[in-house]
């Protein structure tokens, strides 16, 4: 039942603490490209003309104004503007102190439940708002918790955000870490300028703004920190 040679864990301190984090946006570049496609369309040119017609029975000629249309081929130009967004790679972290252990004791373990909410949701121009996997209410959060993920087409990881609660130097801390690699969204966001009479292409401005990848989370931590003795 009790063996003095086998250390037993005991709780040194129970506390509730809060922390917030705003994961940053990353820098980006927007590039534009365009293509022009000639399109030949058969149209009609119409005009009012004095048209004279002879009556075959009486031989009498009668002239009246009528619309006369003549088929004509015309060439127009379809201009297509494309926008590509390149997100630059970013690694970032933030550490908050949650609790100083009583007597400055070097604690051996920490038990954590957390309540979390996301008040600002980042996203990217490929798949929109990042999916956050946070459950409602309190959930176990020992060690590290995955907060957000985003992926490139096909599913390889592009962006990860995690939170780790740990004990270091007699202090319970939380570290938020972000990492994304660089990527370009290919072939996104087209603008069409169809049927322009001019071969000259228009100004290819931004079709859409670049989605901000920044997200903000708020956390309440329910902490028990302890030691083996």
């Amino acid at each position: 039942m009790l063996d003095t040679n086998t250390p037993m864990p005991h709780i040194l301190q129970v506390a509730t603490a809060s922390a917030s984090v705003t994961f940053p946006n990353t820098t980006h570049q927007v590039s534009h490209n365009h293509q022009t496609y000639p399109v030949t369309i058969q149209e009609e040119d119409c005009s009012l003309q004095n048209v004279c017609e002879r009556d075959w029975f009486t031989g009498q000629e009668t002239c009246t104004l009528k619309w006369v249309c003549t088929p004509v081929n015309r060439t127009y130009y379809d201009h297509v503007c494309g926008q590509s967004t390149t997100y630059n790679a970013l690694n970032w972290e933030q550490t908050n102190n949650l609790l100083t252990v009583v007597n400055g004791i070097q604690a051996d373990f920490v038990q954590v439940r957390v309540e979390a909410s996301r008040s600002v949701a980042g996203g990217d121009n490929n798949y929109g708002t990042f999916v956050a996997v946070l459950p409602p209410g309190q959930f176990l959060s020992q060690g590290s918790t995955l907060l957000e993920s985003a992926f490139i087409p096909g599913g390889a990881s592009w962006l990860r955000r995690i939170m780790s609660v740990y004990v270091e130097g007699g202090v319970v801390k939380v570290k938020f870490k972000h990492s994304n690699r660089g990527k370009s969204n290919h072939g996104a966001h087209f603008i069409n300028y169809p049927r322009s009479a001019s071969f000259l292409f228009p100004f290819c401005g931004d079709a859409v703004g670049v989605t901000n990848i920044s997200s903000k989370f708020d956390f309440t931590f329910y902490i028990s920190v302890g030691k083996f003795t």
């Binding site: 086998t6 864990p9 096909g154 599913g155 302890g226």
Partner: protein, 241 residues
């Protein structure tokens, strides 16, 4: 070195400590390195152990191709919950979720397919229930159905003394410090080999180059194929009841 057992009938305090260091009895927190046991310490007890198997259904990849890269599927995701146990403890307990030999950190993957399709789980706790929550993603690959067995340990809160027994020992039980220590409760102790679970002090994951690596206390490594760092895991200690 000698070990000294002291029971104080006036205060109800009971301790076993290193002989010659009586300060370990009067001020245990300042002398933990001399203490083997002290009734003033709030030992971690397990109030409930529950094991259950969840039949996670298959999750299929989208039938719609990616809007921009037609050779890839558009990603889909969803959630589902199962009540693992109605514990009805009346408080929200701390606990541990175990799969196999692995203590699961918050939102850990339990199944992966291809480069990105995955199932993540978390244990939600209320004053009455322990609820398993699944969050799944699929990209190009379906997630086949999976039966996964989860084991849950729920811990006691710090126990308040009651009654009038300073030290009471029978053939099968020991109570000390007015019930604050009671061997009828399932206390946790260390076990280095084949532990039932781990109590941890450090991180269990890292991110780099846009990727993720998880290292469970058991040593199991989960890599997403993109992570390029060198994370080897955080501090932990194996335990049993």
């Amino acid at each position: 070195m000698s070990k000294k057992l002291v029971a104080d009938g006036a205060t109800g305090a009971v301790a076993i400590y290193e002989g010659g260091f009586d300060a370990a009895f009067t001020n245990p927190l300042a002398n933990l390195n001399r203490v083997y046991f002290h009734s003033a310490l709030d030992y971690v007890g397990v109030t409930l152990i529950h094991s259950g198997t969840i039949a996670h259904p298959a999750r299929t990849a989208s039938g719609t191709n990616d809007k921009y890269i037609g050779s890839n599927r558009h990603p889909v995701n969803g959630t589902q919950e199962w009540t693992m146990v109605n514990h009805n403890l009346g408080y929200v307990p701390h606990g541990i979720l175990v799969v196999g030999n692995d203590m699961m950190p918050g939102l850990a993957p339990v199944q992966q397919a291809g480069s990105a399709s995955a199932r993540y789980v978390a244990l939600r706790l209320t004053t009455t229930q322990a609820i398993l929550r699944e969050h799944w993603y699929t990209f190009n690959d379906n997630l086949p159905a999976a039966n996964i067995t989860y084991k849950i340990y729920l811990f006691t809160p710090p126990i308040l003394p009651s009654g009038n027994k300073t030290l009471h020992i029978t053939a099968t039980t020991m109570q000390a410090s007015r019930g604050k220590l009671n061997t009828d409760l399932r206390y946790v102790r260390t076990k280095a080999t084949s532990p039932a679970f781990h109590l941890i002090s450090g991180a269990t994951a890292d991110v780099a180059a846009g990727g993720l690596r998880m290292v469970m206390p058991s040593g199991t490594v989960i890599n997403d194929g993109v992570y390029s760092g060198s994370f080897a895991g955080g501090g932990s200690r194996g335990c049993e009841i």
